[in-house]
Every structure is written in C-alpha cells, then in structure tokens.
Symmetry: C4
Subunit: 203 residues, 4 copies
C-alpha cells in the first residue's frame, strides 16, 4: 500500500485552514459512504416470511452495489488521506480542485442506486464507470498539481511520484470499461476487479 | 481569492469552544453538501435500456441543480472558513447568528430539489434565489458584526474589509434576480454566473 | 446566555477520549439538524406555476416545523457545548447518559415530520413536546450528575449551578404543554415561545 | 465497563493519519446512528386525530428497532473508542479491516428498517442478527490483530486481553440467536438482552 506517511513535518501557518479542509473532506467521505445504505430498498408489503426472503434475494443487486461503492469510496478516502499527509501547504486552487473532486465522490450514491436497481443495464453500468472514472482522474490531477506546484514536503517527492504512477490505473480501468458496458454490461463490473489485482501486485 | 489567512494568531482561551463551533459548522456544511445527492431522482421502473437512458436524460435538471448547489455550498464553506480564520474571539451572539446562517445553508437542498424538478418554473427559481440570497446576506452581516465588535485579529483588518466588499455582490445578484425569475425563469440561473465572472475579476 | 466557558483548564489524561466524545456528540447534533430538511415535502407533480406556489404554501407547516426544530437542536447544541466545556473528567456512566440523551436528540426529526404534516393534531403536538421534553430533562440530569460526581473544574461550580437552575425551565415548559396539546393543539407551540422570553430575561 | 484508557501515551509519527482514521470512524458511527431516524415511517394521510394515534401505535415496531439499533451502534462506538485509545500505531491492514468493519456498522440501518417493519418475521430477525453478529466478530478480530501485531501501547496489554475476552460474547449471542429466529422470531430479540446482563455482571 502506497499511502504511508513521510517523516514528521511542519505546516507552520495556515494550520487551521489545513485541518479544516482535511476535516471537511473526511466529513464528506464519511457521509457519502454512510448514505449508500439508503439506496438499499426495503420491501413495503409482504405476504409471508418466504415472500420477504424472496424479495430480499431479488434485491441482491442493491447489496452488491453497496459493497462495491463502499470499497470504492473507502479506497478514495485512504488515498486522499495518504496524499494530503504529504502536503506542506495548500493553495486556493487546490481547495477548488478538491471541492470538484468531492462533488464527484458525493455523486457516487446516485449511480450506485442505478447500478443496484438495473445491474444488467448498459446505461447504469456505463454511468457508474463514468462517475467513478472522473473522480479517480481528478484525484490523479490533484496529486500531480501538488507535486508540480511544490506543495509537497521535500522528503515525500519519491513517494508522491510512486503514488502518481499507481493512480493512473483506476481512471484507465473505469473509463476504459465504458465500451464494454454496451457489449457485456453484466460482466463489466468484473473488469473493475483488475484494480484489486493491481493493488495486490504492488503491495 | 480573498480567503487567505492572516499571520499565525492566538485565541488564548475558549479554544475548545472555538474549535467546536468551527467543527460543528464544518459538519453542517459537509452534510448539507452531501445530502444534495438524495435529491436526484432514480427511475423505479424501466422497460428497456434506452428507456433508462431516456429517463436519466429527462432528469438532467436534477444533475444541473446538484452541480449549482454543490458550487454554492462549497463557496459558502470556503468563505466561512476564510472569515473564521481571522477571528480572535467568539461571542454568544455570533454563535446565534452563525446558527441562523447555517439554518439557511441547511435549507438549500429543499429549493435545490424544487429547482431540479421544475427548472422552468418561476416559483422554484425565485425560491432558490431567495434562500441562497438570504444565506449570503447573513454571511455578510456576520463578517460585518465580527469587524465592528473587534472580534478580528488586528492584522486581519484590511483583509476583512476587502472580504466584506466582495461579499456584497452575492446577495445583490441572488436577491436581484428574483424579479427576473417571473419574466424569464429558465434564463435566470445564468444571471447567477455573474458571480463566477466577479470571482475571476477579483483573483 | 449562560454558556460562557470558565478559565482555561486541563484534562490531564483521557484527552483523546474526551475529544472523541465531544466530536461524536457534535457530529450527531450536526447530522440531526441537517436531516431536518429531508422532512420538507417536495411536490412531485404540478399542473402550473401557480399550482406549485399553491402546493408550497400549503406545506408551510413543514417550513415552520423545520425552523422550530432547528432552533431546538441548535439550542441543545449550544447548551451541551457550554456544559462540556466545564468538565474536568468524563466517567463511563456519563458516556452512557450522553448516548441516551443523543438518542432523543436524534429522534427529533421524527416528531418534526409529524408536526410539519399535521400541525393541528393533538397527537403530533403532544408527541413533539414529549420527545423534546425528555431530551431537555436528560440534559438537566446530565449536568446535575457531573456536578454531584465532581467531574467539573472547581472554578466552574457557580456557573454550573446557575446553568442547572436555568435548565429546569425547558422540561417544565415542554412536558407541561402536553395537556394543552389536547385542548388547543394549534396554539400549544406558542407556549414554547415562553422559553425565548425566559432566555431574554436571563441574558 | 472495560473501555478505560491506559496512561497517557505517544504516537510519535503518523499523528495526522491516526487522528484522521479516528475522525473518519467517528463520523461514520455518528452518521449511521443518526440515519436510523429516517427508517421510522411517518403516516402520509390521516382521517382524524385518533387515526394518527392509531397509525403511530401500529408503528411501534419502528420505534423499538430504533432504540435497539441506537444501543447497538452506540455500544460499538464506545468499544471502538476504547480499543483505539490503546493503540500505539496503525498499519495499512488495520485501516482496511476497520473499513470492512465500518461497512457492516453502516449497513445496520437496513436490517433495522426490516426489523421495524416486520418484527415477527424470521427472515428480518435472522438478517438483523447476522449483520450485527458479523460486525461484532470483525470488532473482535480487529482487537486480536492489534494485540498480535504489537500495535498496542505496552501498558495496555492486560486491558486489551480483558477486552478481547469480553468481546467474544456479542458474536456468540447474535450469531447463536439465528436458529432461534426461525422458531421463535418474536422472542429472539429478548435473547440479545443477555448482552446487557453480561455487561452488568462485568462492571
């Protein structure tokens, strides 16, 4: 796992601002990940116990979509946390890029709901891959920006370059899976598991 | 961008209180911004894949409203964070005004939902402009209050005065757009883009 | 306002625990207050612009209930924050009482929804008064407990005694208004305004 | 209660990471516990005041489920907070296990909703016991992992071993109650009260 923190470091000023941005981002991640549960449909009327079992089984798509999105947002959070740990300073533009990134993270419950309800539909699979793909692309851009602008602690340069290389994979996998969604929608989510394989090879 | 923090400063006592108020406000911003996604309607029944695509396209208003409100709440948060970074002390009245301000920020998901569903309706456009306009007016009043009461760190006086001048624009744009909502409802949201132009001219 | 903090103080150990309990409570307050907006109903179908205006006006009960509950939870938070600022230590029993108290605070969106929908119903007015009354009673019991167990900083003793006296009023007003809910339901919420008068007399 | 913190300790580096993980976990607990209120159904149409009273009484299952899950998540949080207070360091694997654990905590509102709606159904009682049982099993595994990997502060060893022994009970009670759910569904939740008895015997 590449999110190890560098040696202790200082952020002499803007301490409050830094911690508020981190706290706000953490809050947004925590809320987005927790709202996922609201997408799981609960039957409103049942005729018998076996009917309830049948309806719940019928909605297994909701539970799979919950698990996938929990893993996705969880991984985004771990990665964000690793990257922000290497920062020496924050500039106003980074605040804005971070907000745009968070806007896509917060949007994830929406395609999750579609994916849970219509998991064999090309449109919902493609939309899911698009939203997650854009979010991972923005995460990559954010890391690249902080490195180029010299916002990182010097000791973290090598780590940051390695993170950046690793972060090229998720946008390629998600955005690259979109064409497959229109041919083999039900199988496309399995392509996303390439990321788990990639993570295992690196660690 | 005007939300730069002044030099390092002290808040000798009430440290815990200060950080709790900031943390509470950040929490409210983070939750309000994340709840926006719940306003996006998800189709419950589809007949085919192209029907899903059609229904999603039909609900593009929800996505636009999501983007607008994410930008609005995000900007409120950045501004709040810049203004609170200049505070030397907090008094009980500021706590109350901050709560009233947050009540309007938290309300934003409601007119967002209306705007997303009925984006060519004068009533929903006007109500959106009213809620956001009042929130931005309260933000301005809060900054003015902290300056007049001497709650700011001395070094931040010039910055605070500049912030205050900049913060006059959003209430004028939003509240001033209300009459337009009754004549050209679909075009009124474009008037709000004046704020983006204003931000660019200042930075 | 009685929630002034005493002089700076120390909580030598359990610092992490203390701050986690405060952060958790703040999180719960922030989320409960923000969820209130979800109780405001949004029309799903409208025939015209004036129909939308009519439907929104028809739901003014939801907006009033939102405002009342925002004020109630906001005041609970201010009070909680003032009382926890006086603590020297936390014991396991206080953690449990605090959780029970938070369970009632978190429940408030439920009677708020009932009150918003059926504001002239004895049952919804009485239930609202009951939930808020129990929460305010638990807050009082919590302050009393911390004083008796010697969990307060010594310098805060006088302040705590004053807080305790002030905190007797809300449970009396809310629980005492329940019989009125069955005679004059629509007017009962106005009784709650006695608290605003009480607050003004004390400050 | 076993969640007392050991003597003051240091986590020389990774301080930011540590506090972010704790803050994120706290956020998730706070949100999951607050979302429970959304599962309580609010009547949409009533014919009279006694009809409202009747409908609310009819939904007492929702209120009981709310109370049970508030107690469950609250206890999970107290336990998590006690266990993390004993940590000297965090490793990447613990971050992942913690996320999987949180995924089950966040899921609790879903079986809570089922339990509230269908409290005499074997399926909903069994599903509730399964989700809570797995979450408590993961909590136990997490504590065991931190002890074996030497991630605890040395002074906390005895306390951690005691916690671990105590944490064997909840998974046994919840998972062990699943067969009962298929024989005496309505009575199974009373088996869970064994945990309260167990807690009382230990304190």
């Amino acid at each position: 796992m590449q999110q190890q923190s560098p040696r202790p470091r200082r952020r002499e000023e803007h301490e409050l601002e830094f911690s508020r941005i981190v706290a706000f981002s953490d809050g947004v991640f925590a809320i987005a990940i927790t709202l996922l549960v609201l997408q799981i449909n609960v039957p409103s009327h049942i005729s018998s116990d076996s009917d309830l079992a049948h309806q719940i089984t019928h909605q297994h798509g909701d539970l799979i979509a919950y698990a996938v999105s929990f893993a996705v947002i969880g991984r985004f959070w771990v990665s964000h946390h690793g990257n922000f740990a290497m920062l020496r300073a924050i500039d106003p533009r980074l605040v804005v890029v971070n907000l745009v990134y968070l806007a896509f993270v917060c949007l994830i419950p929406y395609p999750t709901d579609l994916l849970g309800g219509f998991n064999d539909s090309s449109v919902s699979v493609a939309l899911y891959a698009l939203v997650v793909g854009i979010a991972s692309l923005l995460a990559l851009m954010m890391v690249r920006y902080t490195r180029r602008k010299g916002l990182l602690v010097p000791a973290a340069a090598a780590q940051a370059a390695a993170n950046e290389r690793a972060m090229i994979v998720p946008p390629i996998v998600f955005l690259g899976s979109i064409p497959f969604a229109f041919v083999i929608p039900s199988w496309t989510p399995f392509l996303w598991l390439l990321l788990a394989v990639d993570g295992r090879l690196r660690s």
